[in-house]
Symmetry: C2
Subunit: 431 residues, 2 copies
């Protein structure tokens, strides 16, 4: 019978067939080692001259890296072997001898690797990142499911602009003119929150931004909950609770993958409540005191500012109540400070910076219309959004979590292009 490498433990001392690809092979005198991967793990296959059938030894000789094959043998526990099992081979069926594999153990440039992303995913580091991503997504969905949130998948093709008209991808939409690719699902999630109380959306979002930083993609996944009757403080409580849940989940499920990535796990273990809450005013003061930043009061933080700020703390921090002038039109005006809005960003530690941006939303229809006009956005496109303030408007709040930034932080990788299977940046649309 055939089985997956991850299930070998259920079949010790039985003959099984593993179907996979050559990850590595080497010979040591009479013994030959074949490291096989099948996507669920690695297993070391052993061939011994004199014991292993001759045709198997011959087939071994022909194998190239990434050749596909079926290997039959009896697995046994071997703590020193990668994956913890070893298999004596009694049968070896070649499916395909691979052409010379372009990715070798030598150093390749990033561009070369990104050009071969469809193959690079097979390497153990990339494999580990994608498995952690899989766990993070499942943790997030489980968290919202358990807590009674309803998933509201929001549209990608939209007639109305999201946050700003600057960075939109547009496409011709039949006879209806231009459609824009959603920058956010938030406005639709707000409609959902008025219908279902607690909702979230989780899908790809798009920014046609000419940014080339390690924190930007043109297409990225964003998870956006929205809760009726929540204020900005409730919103921060929810963020904190979610992030602790996700980190705990990953620590429980993904330890081997984090070890493959050489992640300092002790840093993740520090991610417990409460997270420091720092007002924008305080944060600017701190940055100015440290002296490494040239931030002026009233400006938004740059990536470098966030890096400096997060290095002062051992866990994520939440910076709240930013100047209205640097934030989106829908954020609720601060009740005591006309220049501020009730919002917050969550900045991940170790220099990672913003992973969440959230706010209480302006529920007053007059103030909202005024802000739309101030931002010179087309009022007529927001008709349905303004309806939410006419028919039972309530205080509400929500946030957006950038999946790739969260994956990059939790995996401890430098650039978010490795946190997504097929990254899209200004200069990359392939593979």
């Amino acid at each position: 019978m055939s089985c997956y490498i991850e299930n070998l433990g259920d079949h010790t001392d039985q003959e099984v067939t593993i179907r996979g690809w050559v990850y590595n092979k080497r010979s040591s005198g009479k013994i030959k080692f074949l490291l096989l991967r099948d996507g669920t793990g690695l297993v070391q296959c052993v061939l011994v001259k004199g014991e292993t059938p001759d045709e198997v030894l011959e087939a071994f000789g022909n194998l190239t890296q990434e050749s596909s094959l079926k290997v039959t043998g009896v697995p046994r526990v071997e703590k020193r072997a990668p994956g913890g099992y070893e298999m004596s081979v009694s049968k070896l069926e070649i499916v395909q001898i691979a052409e010379e594999y372009p990715i070798t153990p030598k150093e390749h440039g990033v561009d070369f690797l990104m050009n071969h992303r469809h193959l690079w995913l097979r390497s153990s580091q990339q494999h580990a990142i994608m498995r952690v991503r899989n766990e993070i997504v499942m943790a997030i969905r489980q968290y919202f499911y358990e807590n009674g949130f309803v998933l509201v998948d929001t549209p990608i093709l939209t007639g109305s602009v999201g946050e700003s008209g600057q960075t939109l991808f547009a496409t011709k939409y039949f006879d209806l003119g231009q459609a824009y690719l959603a920058q956010t699902g938030q406005l639709y999630a707000e409609a959902g929150a008025m219908a279902f109380g607690k909702v979230y959306c989780f899908g790809p979002t798009f920014r046609a931004e000419k940014s080339k930083t390690r924190r930007h993609l043109t297409e990225f996944w964003m998870m956006e909950p929205e809760v009726a009757f929540n204020d900005s403080d409730d919103n921060m409580d929810l963020q904190e609770d979610l992030i602790c849940y996700v980190v705990r989940w990953v620590l429980e499920k993904s330890r081997p993958d984090l070890e493959t990535l050489e992640r300092d796990i002790s840093k993740l273990e520090q991610v417990v409540k409460p997270f420091p809450r720092v007002s924008y005013d305080e944060a600017v003061k701190k940055l100015q005191e440290v002296g490494e930043s040239d931030i002026q009061y009233g400006a938004d933080f740059g990536g470098d500012d966030e890096t400096i700020l997060t290095k002062m703390y051992d866990r994520p921090i939440m910076v709240y109540d930013y100047p209205r002038a640097v934030k989106a039109f829908y954020m609720k005006q601060h009740p005591e400070r006309d220049d501020l809005v009730r919002c917050n960003d969550m900045l991940a530690p170790e220099g990672y910076g913003e992973i969440i941006g959230g706010s209480q939303r302006e529920e007053d229809p007059e103030k909202l219309i005024q802000r739309i006009k101030e931002e010179k956005l087309p009022l007529e496109a927001y008709g349905w959004y303004l309806d939410l303030r006419k028919f039972g408007s309530v205080p509400h709040a929500g946030f957006g979590l950038g999946l790739e930034r969260t994956v990059a932080w939790i995996c401890g990788i430098h650039h978010i292009r490795e946190a997504v299977p097929f990254a899209r940046t200004m200069g990359r649309l392939n593979p």
Copy 2:
């Protein structure tokens, strides 16, 4: 303390505050009934002249449909009330008196309702559909998670064409020319399967099709698993197992919502293995025998053909091995029949028709190149895809499940535009 209506059972005989919206109100002599919704359920609030404080009775008089409010009182079990609880009101705080609500109990046209989709979602039928959708999505994700599949989110913006160049949305992509919105994640999922063995993607897909049927949207969610070493029969086994799991899950979790939708639950209870497997050849013969279809051998089925066919069975059926000429280039040639490919569709019963399309993939690089040329697709755009056939090619198979079609079938609704929060069709881009 405030609580959600769905949790009232934990707070009987305690004073709690519910925050929500007026769903309905009526008076009967000295007693006034206020039906309140908060997104998690409905609760009947009771006000009695002489017992309820005067200011509460006065506030009740001012309430319009969808006005937002906070109601304090003590919940008690009342089997006859919607939701099973009733609450005597001791305090009523109005958050906002809603303007005259456009959706009334009278019949509205579909276009009117779709124009007010952001409000229509609040009605109990739409609420129920979205909650079932939420359960279906969670069931699917849980199924793949439990079975060791890795989520591989595939890109929306692509340089290469998916299945055919006919129905693509395009957008300008910086200096790289045109990007196309993905019609499928399959090609990328195939790369994932070679890296992880078992993968799935689940995201929005796009077809710029000028179809106006009840089964078509221009933007819809598709879930696509891909498994290395699976053949077409394994692929059908997986489909069958998944659909049974999802239907069981919904029957367990969503009974009240299915009842709201007046779904014939006995029909869903019949969805158990095995599903009939009917070859294309047999299916055409059956259709010709019945005489209601004008299908010619060699043609693909139309929506009407599927409706007729599915009405012959009490559960989903799988039609397999279609003519190569009507199917996509990547499907595996039948080993004995040059004119067929190893593929299948799953057709949902009760006339719903196709919810899944799947196939074994052509793993032979020469045959694949030949098919790309036959279809006059740009070979150079498939370079990376062909790499998967050079470096350890293996038999593999997968399928795509259309989420909205599945939701429509399980909920028993006629048109898929109600199976998604904000539908996109040829004629609709708003709200």
